[in-house]
Amino acid sequence: MALSARNQLPGTVKSVVLGAVMAEIVVEVAGHEVVSVITRHSAEALDIKAGDDITAVIKATEVLLQK
């Protein structure tokens, strides 16, 4: 199974904050933090918790650059 998204960053879950509908997950990738907001459903279905190995996936069209 291949995925069209160009950026697949392996990291570790640093924190999980569950809201009523959404969940905020902070992933540590090579010393940097990547924040993901997903539905609470997804967070629970994937059973995401601090310390888990996880991949942050970002489409190339979604990456902003600043110089």
Partner: protein, 373 residues
């Protein structure tokens, strides 16, 4: 299926209507019919001639062709007067007179010869309808932009027009004010028999308010139809480009007790989506938010709530990216991906593929079923 136009004779019909200025044709419309009880949106890019057409329809712009108002051709001064008396207009700017709000709303009635006592009563009722009765004694300088526009709309509604012309009525307002006013206007239109023609260049606004949409390009109507049909089946690439290459979804919002929101499509497919109240809704799914898998991802391996298996229908260039159309049952889903991704996944027409997107990529816009029997 294209829904037939409403039954009965139109409140206002324009045939072979054209506006020329300095040798240039600004607007040329073969046929446009506005029906009572319906919101007809004139949608198109800036400079397409929407406002010029609106002014030609309400007699403010010199035009060739025929206008028929309430079954009577407008050819004489008396006819134009009947058109002006039987209609009302609201513009992007409220254009209030420097007097009290109450006097502003009474002014249209007084001009039409309504006596003072009745004008007072009808103005108060109109201000109440727009939720601004408490502002009756204020002057325009004491109003916010949203309040002033509500007063301007109250002034138009007070005369009980057969046709209401709205020219970008929300364009000067901030988003929360705009949303509140849209809700109130739809509630008012739902109970009214007037024909509303609403000019906008904002596709979300068109989708939220329009029963029918006419798309205007370089002064000509290139497509007319029920709003959902125009969005789902743009007649030309110009219309599709303006509306965006988005996937259009229409269905009914269902909120689960556990807080999840789904858009249930007529095919029975449920799409996890952003928050919205229960009821009919439509949504556009931006193609840049869709990812493609070459095979189904294992269960519970991704946070994406929407995972739809299908087949590649088309791959076309879109700037430096590729626009991939995936057919999944009755749905067509567009994805914008890089050329490298298309090569790596071997995406060619007819190949199986899985389209996936986050629930938060789907922003439902409530659509009230406003059509009366």
């Amino acid at each position: 299926m294209i829904a037939p136009p409403p039954e009965g004779h139109p409140a206002l019909r324009a045939s072979k209507l054209s506006v020329r200025r300095g040798g240039a044709t600004l607007v040329a419309v073969d046929d446009l019919a506005l029906y009572g009880g319906e919101v007809h949106v004139l949608l198109g890019p800036n400079g397409a001639g929407k406002s010029t057409l609106l002014r030609a329809l309400n007699g403010l712009e010199q035009a060739d062709g025929e206008l028929v108002f309430d079954g009577r051709p407008i050819r004489t001064y008396g006819g134009r007067l009947a058109l002006r008396r039987g209609t009302a207009a609201v513009f992007q700017k409220p254009h209030l007179l420097n007097t009290t709000v109450q006097a502003n709303v009474e002014s249209g009635l007084r001009l039409r010869g309504v006596d003072r006592a009745e004008a007072r009563q009808r103005a108060a009722a109109a201000l109440d309808l727009l939720g601004v009765a408490r502002l009756a004694a204020r002057r325009p300088v004491q109003l916010s932009g949203g309040e002033a526009q509500r007063v301007s709309i109250a002034r138009a509604l007070a005369v009980d027009p057969a046709v209401l012309f709205l020219d970008e009525p929300l364009a000067s307002l901030d988003p929360p004010t705009r949303r509140a006013l849209v809700d109130d206007l739809l509630r008012i239109f739902e109970r009214s028999a007037m024909a509303v023609i609403w000019v906008t260049h904002d596709r979300d606004e068109a989708l939220a308010v329009g029963d029918r949409v006419s798309f205007l390009e370089r002064g000509r109507i290139v497509q007319t139809g029920p709003a959902a049909h125009v969005f789902a089946h743009p007649a030309s690439t110009a219309v599709a480009d303006f509306l965006g290459l988005d996937t259009y979804l229409e269905g009914v919002i269902v909120n689960d007790p556990d807080g999840a929101t789904r858009l249930r499509l007529p095919s029975g497919v449920d799409i996890a989506c952003g928050e919205a109240p229960d009821g009919p809704a439509a949504a556009c799914l931006p193609p840049e938010d869709v990812v493609l898998f070459s095979g189904p991802p294992p269960d519970h391996s991704t946070s994406l709530r929407n995972v739809l298996p299908g087949m590649v229908k088309a791959v076309k260039p879109s700037g430096r990216l590729l626009h991939v159309v995936v057919v999944s049952g009755p749905l067509e889903i567009a994805a914008l991906v890089t050329r490298a991704a298309v090569e790596e996944l071997g995406l060619t027409v007819g190949e199986p593929v899985v389209a996936a997107f986050k629930a938060s990529a789907v922003h439902p816009i409530p659509r009230q079923d406003r059509r009366r029997p």
